[in-house]
Structures are given as C-alpha cells and as structure tokens.
C-alpha cells in the first residue's frame, strides 16, 4: 500500500469520531504520527518531511476545529525542519511527540488543581458535551475527597453527553442526565457549570453547539461558567474560524426528512469570551483581555498556514 493510502486509512477514524474531545483526538494523532514514521521507510529526508506534511494536513482537514491537534501538527512539522537525514528527522519528531503527550497530561493535572478551587463541596455541578479535560478534572476532584453531583445533557446529535455521564458514573460520581433543552430546568439548581472547548481565539471560543445557550442561561441565572482548556487551544483568528467548515450530513439529524425540509447539521459554534466567567488553563484563570497575548506566543509552520481569502 502506498504511504498516501496508508495515511488516509489511519486518519479516517479521526474524521468519523464525533464523541471524543480535542485532547483525546490529539493523543490518537500522536499514535498516527508514530505509525507514519515507522511505515515510511524512506531514507530521503525530504520525502519523509513531505509525508509528515501530508499527515498533518490530512489530520487537520479531518478535524478542522480542534486546536490541540493543530498545535501537535505544527510542533511536529517545526521539529522536522532542521534534520539533514531521515533518521535524525525520525528521532527529532518522536521526541516532540513524546514531549507533547507528556505536556497534555501535565496540563490537565495543573488545570485540575485550579478547578478544585471552584468546585463547591456538596453542590450540583453542570457539565456540557464531552471534554476529557472536564472529565479528568471532575474525577480528580472526586478522588481527592470532594463530594458533588453532576448534571449533564445528551448533546445531540452525536450524544456524547452519554459518554460523559458514563465516565463520571464509573468514577463514582452521581450523575443526573436529561435532554439538551431541559438545561434551563436543571441549571437553577446548579452552583457552577463547566465546559471544554475546541479552540480559543480573540473573537471567542469554539465548542459544541449548545454552548452559547448554556452561556446565556448561566449569565441570566448568575451561575459561573468556566471553560477548561490548556493554552494549546489558543489559536489565531483564521484558524479559529476553520470550525465553520465542519458540516456533517443532514441525514444524521433526520434520516427521512420530507420534501421541502432541508436538514442542517453544523456542530460547532462561537461563544464570545466575555459570555463566560473565565477560561481555566494550566497557567490559571484567563480572562477576555488576556486571550490575545496567549495567541501571540505561537508561530505557525508554513505548510499549515491558511491561505488568505
């Protein structure tokens, strides 16, 4: 099988994955890069570099909204720039992949520390959609003896709320589950709300549709809403709006819609940062006015730069 076909076969499950959060997808992408570095046995450094670029582009076109995936690809390509031989390139990239995996875990542990400060003991907590960061932070708080219950909703149309509910229940957290629009019915009983996100930029944060409604309801009811996200999720404005390209088939929402009914299935939306109480990162709480300085810290590899419109 040609390397191009192998890349396509490896990336396809990432495209089909509607249930995983951005951090989980990045962990799987690390495995894909490791596999590609093994599968492509070329001794030509430029050919291997081209393979990596192709892998990165395929991954980002499969999941255009997920910033940590973009950061991973960006770091892999940047670390592949200097090597003079294919072997050195392999070593450099594998180092980057290992370091990135370690950072993903370390960041979540640091975020969990900060989250512990805002979980009131004995209260009801709202969590939306699926975010492995949110799950890890809640499980970590529970493991450290903090008692609380979690309310979550199904997150149509992919229903990743069930994955959230199941993982929390497995971790011995009592869960109350309902359908999405019952949010307004259950939120008045909650003391705090959490969500993950796919990326953060100056115009706002991108997350599963419904997050804006959650933010509006929390604002109206005076409930603090925090987004839990490592600074890996901070991206430039053009990268942020890539989520608009992520449209799924309408048949996933209504298989046999009658004539005259067009079914729309866009799953991500933008939430202005000032609509929520703050973003809890590995560096602590970040507010609206600090978002731009985080974004300025990163440099984008030319193969991943977006062409201007």
């Amino acid at each position: 099988m040609k390397i191009r076909n192998q890349i396509a076969a490896l990336v396809r499950p990432i495209e089909e994955d509607l249930l995983s959060g951005a951090a989980e997808i990045s962990l799987r992408a690390i495995t894909i890069f490791q596999a590609v570095l093994n599968l492509d046995t070329t001794t030509e450094v430029n050919l291997l570099r081209a393979t990596l670029i192709e892998t990165a582009q395929a991954l980002l076109s499969a999941q255009p909204a997920m910033a940590p995936l973009f950061q991973l690809c960006n770091q892999v390509l940047s670390s592949a720039e200097k090597a003079k031989s294919a072997d050195t390139l392999r070593i450099d990239c594998l180092k980057t992949l290992t370091a990135y995996e370690k950072k993903l875990c370390d960041d979540v542990a640091k975020i969990a520390e900060h989250v512990l400060d805002v979980i009131p003991p004995g209260e009801l907590i709202f969590a939306y959609s699926f975010s492995s960061t949110v799950v890890s932070c809640l499980l970590s708080a529970r493991a450290r003896g903090r008692y609380f219950r979690v309310v979550c909703t199904e997150s149509m149309p992919s229903m990743e709320g069930r994955k959230l509910a199941s993982q929390l229940a497995q971790g011995k957290i009592e869960v109350i589950y309902t359908y999405d629009t019952a949010m307004g019915l259950v939120l008045p009983n909650c003391s705090v709300a959490f969500m993950g996100c796919d990326c953060v930029g100056a115009p706002g944060l991108v997350n599963k549709a419904g997050s804006l409604l959650l933010a509006l309801a929390c604002k109206d009811m005076g409930i603090p809403l925090y987004c839990l996200a490592s600074t890996d999720k901070f991206v430039s404005e053009d990268r942020l709006f890539q989520f608009e390209n992520h449209e799924r088939p309408g048949s996933e929402v209504w298989r046999d819609a009658p004539e005259g009914v067009r079914v729309l299935n866009r799953q991500f939306e933008l939430i202005p940062v000032n609509y929520i109480s703050g973003i809890i990162t590995e560096k602590g709480m970040i507010h609206e006015n600090q978002v731009e300085e985080q974004i300025a810290l990163s440099r984008v590899h030319e193969a991943l730069a977006l062409s201007s419109v």
Copy 2:
C-alpha cells in the same frame, strides 16, 4: 363496560399524546365529551353531572399543563349546573361544546390576522416545538401570499418539531430543520421567532422545555419573540404550576442508562412574560402588565378548583 372504564379508555390516548399542541388536544377532548354524553344513557341528572365531572378530572390529570383543555372542562361543567333533567343537561353541554369548538377556530383566525403584521416578507422565521396555532398562522400568512422560510428544531425528546416541519412543508413553506441546541447557530439569520404555549399566568408562560433558552437567545440577539395564544390559555397561578406534575419516564430519554445515572424527563418550563416581546392573542398583543386582568375574567367550577397546599 362501566362508564368509568369507558372514560378511562377514551382519555388514555390524550395522556399518551406528546406531539399535539393544546388547541388540538382541546378539539379531541370535545369529541370525548360528546362521546361520554352519548355513552352514559342515565336519566338521572345528578349521575350524568357526576360523569361529566369525572371526565373533566380525568382529562386534566392526563394533561395538567394545557390551559384550553382546562377552560373547556370548566365551561362544560359550568353549563351542566342548571339543568333539571338529564336531557336538558345533554342539550346544554352539546351547545357549549359546539360553541367552544367554534371559538377555538375563530380565535386562531383572529390571531393569524395579528401575526401577519409581524411577518416580514422574504425573511427567515424561527418556530419552536409544535403549536397548531403557530402552524395555522404561518399557513394562513402563506396562503395570503406572504413569502418566508421557517427554521425549526427537533424538540427532543418527543421530536414534535418534525410534525411542525412536515405540516409547514406540506403547506409549501420552505423549512430548514436542525437539532435543538443548534438554535444559537440559526437564530442570527432569523428576523422573528414564534412559539405557542400551554398556559399563561402572572408568573409567566408555560411551554415545552427549551423555550426559556430560545427566549434568552432572542433577547441576546435582538430578535422579537412572540407567543401565539388565545386568551383561553390565561389561568390562575395555582393552575399554571400544574405543569410541574408532568414528569415522564426517564427511559424515554435514555433507555439503558448505566448505574449511577438518574435520567430526568420533565418537559415543560416557565418563561417570564417579560423575557418575550409579547403574547399575540385573538384580542391583539398582550404585554406583561395586562396578563393579570385577563386572568381575572374567568371563574373556576368548584369540581376543578385546586386544593390549597
């Protein structure tokens, strides 16, 4: 079969009906009262009166949130008070039923007149959940040559949004359909939003869960949101809060939820009247400060009075 069992058999489908709006349910209740008046062949006026009270109570316990159903029962019982013979009682009640049916239709026609004034030509309109009043008003506007498109969402967990979409599409109105939490994604393109309701009281209006999120989003985005409802839906505060008794089985939301996950299935919620732009009734637009005077106009039959807590 005893009349008590016959009443139960007639009312059961009303309890199971999760797709119909309050006006439709009232039309079906008219048929049930007509059937009961035929099935109970007693010549004892007090026995027949007791049968009607039982029917009314069964209907209201099946659908505690729907005000027009309450008004119908209330009017039937009130018109059954004076008769000295069973035959006169039958005649009085059948007259009331016919008059109520006519009023339901007349009211919708009047509401449709007022709605026409707020439908901007050529624009996108949002409609939530299922309301036969909303469908009638939109179809009437279309029949009168007003062109517009409608966006609606599925309305989980009963998905009565599909019924709305299908009926509008049958009436040659172009429909865009999506899942509920995508509301925030589609609303910015809409010029006006409509919903029905089950009842209106001084504390607010009761409608399908999700209406509060819709109201918050419309407020945030500056989109006028109107509730279309005849004044039959105006009820006292104790009657209004009957919707809180309407809890459905959790298995309708998640059939095989894992241990540790409790599934909540409450389908109605309260929306403060000042969260929406106005209530369009057969008497024209009604605002928050006019709600109480509408409620004061009605008198409740003692058999339907709620016992104080």
